[in-house]
């Protein structure tokens, strides 16, 4: 089902845009290569965007699912625990200090994501790693990294003219080359997460129960957080800070598919990929031929849903 949704949204993503192509034209363009105008549109513009949206959506949604499971907190996500902000800060810092080295941006984003997750993890570990502490530490780290991003932006206004789109999140200038290191990391991250689905579920039973079932709780939590950071960092490195995907997609999947990771994780990958692809179609067709940033569209859809979740959670508490 979700696979069909993903394929359909991918096809729609390649067809739709300022120049509209029919599915038939897309296939003939794919067959003819870059020699025809349609072929150039498909290979140089549409395909990178669709692949970029799919990778970013899949990575952020799975990262969110892992973080929610590991922290046992439905309101956690790569955005909430500071992973996105950390990746963003290091990307901005790198492009300010080494403007020539655009190839280093993905590496910088990974370092930032790891730095954020490690800081959160170490703070939490010192306080015996309670779930609340992890989220609070994440919120603090997130603010700090965002302040850092703003500082760099103010100190280097010229070199960072493109940064506003980065902070909103968007994949307007994406090329297949820019996706190169990121897609490998996302593929490895998804595979690693799938292999650890059982551990993830045991961990979400709570630390004590997980321990007495023979799980190495601290190591498992650490490895899963590293995977989540790698996934989110890879996505941020080419798509900027896309909020809410990592929060709402795991929620929808949890409600519809259930919370068993062996079903939920693949569902998050597929739905996350479809969701961002569809949002990107909206971003470039809504005010066509002008484009708005992908991050804006995700926020328009994501924020009302987030508020709905907050209200719903409060209602749930009263019922319990």
């Amino acid at each position: 089902m979700l696979l069909i949704v993903l394929l359909a949204s991918a096809l729609a993503g390649i067809c739709l845009g300022s120049v509209r192509l029919s599915p038939y034209e897309v296939f003939s363009a794919l067959a003819s290569g870059k020699s025809t105008p349609d072929g150039r549109i498909v290979y140089c513009i549409r395909l990178p965007r669709v692949l970029g949206s799919m990778l970013a959506g899949a990575a952020l949604a799975l990262s969110g699912a892992i973080i929610q499971a590991v922290l046992g907190n439905p309101l956690a996500s790569p955005g909430v625990i500071g992973v996105n902000a950390g990746a963003g800060f290091f990307t901005v810092l790198c492009s300010a200090l080494f403007p020539a080295a655009a190839k280093m941006l993905p590496a910088a984003a990974f370092i930032g994501a790891f730095a954020a997750v490690m800081t959160v993890y170490i703070i939490a570990r010192k306080t015996e790693a309670s779930k609340l502490t992890l989220v609070l530490a994440g919120a603090a780290i997130s603010s700090l990294f965002n302040a850092g991003t703003d500082t760099v932006t103010e100190l280097f206004p010229e070199t960072l003219s493109g940064i506003s789109s980065f902070k909103i999140g968007g994949i307007g200038n994406i090329t297949l080359e820019k996706l190169f290191p990121a897609w490998i990391i996302i593929a490895v991250g998804i595979t690693a997460a799938f292999l650890l689905h059982n551990e993830t579920d045991v961990l979400s039973l709570g630390d004590k129960t997980a321990f007495t079932l023979g799980l190495n709780v601290k190591a498992t939590r650490f490895v899963l957080l590293i995977i989540a950071a790698a996934l989110a960092g890879a996505a941020v490195s080419f798509a900027g800070i896309l909020g809410f995907v990592g929060l709402i997609v795991p929620h929808i999947c949890g409600r519809v598919i259930g919370y068993e990771s062996r079903y939920k994780m693949p569902a998050c990958v597929l739905l996350g990929a479809s969701f961002v692809t569809v949002c990107d179609i909206v971003a470039r067709t809504l005010f066509s031929p002008n484009e708005i940033s992908l991050g804006i569209v995700i926020s328009y859809i994501g924020v009302p849903f987030f508020i709905y979740l907050l209200l719903k959670k409060k209602g749930g508490k009263h019922n319990a």
Partner: protein, 259 residues
């Protein structure tokens, strides 16, 4: 068999338990009783390795648990914690996690694992609700779902921390039946119980604690008659021979009513 030797320890470098030595026989039910904060839960958590003793040893069949592999420990001793952290997974999925210590990589369930899970669901009386989500169940059903997980873990030693807290009275009796069935299969069951009457009427032995020390380990009737219960909890317990239940009195009231 589980044996504690001169066990001391607690949280954050501060010892709660002081010099506890006790052995729990196979095929017996032992209730740990004592006032709140006397170290009952600490004791259980130390038995299964959740807390490390500052001094002394925990031995399973003569082997120190600090020398055992974590996964090996999980195959020998299970622990049902008081607060349940269940997400919206099904009862069957929860019970299946009980097989986690036995799954090698790549974590595949064998036919044998599935059979054990089915039996555990059956014994815990949750076969009919196996496909429902744990979060949608009543307190009693949820507790039985967790018991199914503990049964599926199929360890020789079973630790139950306040298993009856959220149960209504009929669910409490069902729980008692399940615990007796574990005993029959030769398991060592150790429970911490709030309900003194339930602890006294359904245990082979009572381990009576006060302020982190073990006052004594006696069969319930003797614990009541020797005044150990009074010493620990400030109440008298008198066996009603007809029902096998205990009548509980606050110390001085008891004196008055019998004088």
């Amino acid at each position: 068999m589980l044996e504690l030797r001169n066990l001391c320890g607690g949280y954050g470098g501060k010892d709660i338990l002081e010099d506890i030595s006790i052995s729990f026989e196979s095929g017996s039910i032992t209730s740990v009783i004592g006032a709140n904060g006397c170290g009952k839960s600490t004791l259980l958590q130390m038995c299964c390795g959740l807390l490390k003793p500052s001094r002394g040893q925990v031995l399973i069949d003569g082997k120190d648990i600090s020398e055992m592999k974590h996964i090996e420990l999980a195959q020998k001793i299970s622990y049902m914690e008081q607060v349940h952290n269940s997400g919206s997974i099904t009862v069957r999925a929860l019970a299946s996690h009980g097989r986690f210590p036995y799954l090698g990589y790549p974590r595949r369930f064998t036919a044998q694992d599935k059979k054990i899970v089915d039996e555990a669901l059956e014994s815990a009386g949750v076969s009919d609700i196996a496909d429902r989500k744990v979060s949608e169940l009543s307190g009693g059903q949820r507790q039985r779902a967790y018991i199914a997980m503990t049964l599926a873990q199929d360890t020789d030693i079973v630790l139950l921390d306040e298993p009856s807290t959220y149960l209504d009275i009929s669910s409490q009796f069902e729980l008692t039946d399940i615990v007796y069935a574990m005993k029959k299969r030769g398991k060592t069951v150790i429970t911490v119980l709030h309900d003194l009457n339930m602890a006294l009427s359904n245990s082979d032995m009572t381990a009576v604690m006060k302020n982190g020390r073990l006052l004594g380990v006696l069969p319930p009737k003797e614990a009541a008659e020797s005044g150990l219960i009074r010493q620990a909890l400030g109440v008298e317990a008198v066996l009603d021979e007809k029902t096998g239940q205990y009548l509980l009195f606050k110390g001085e009231n008891h004196e008055k009513s019998y004088n």
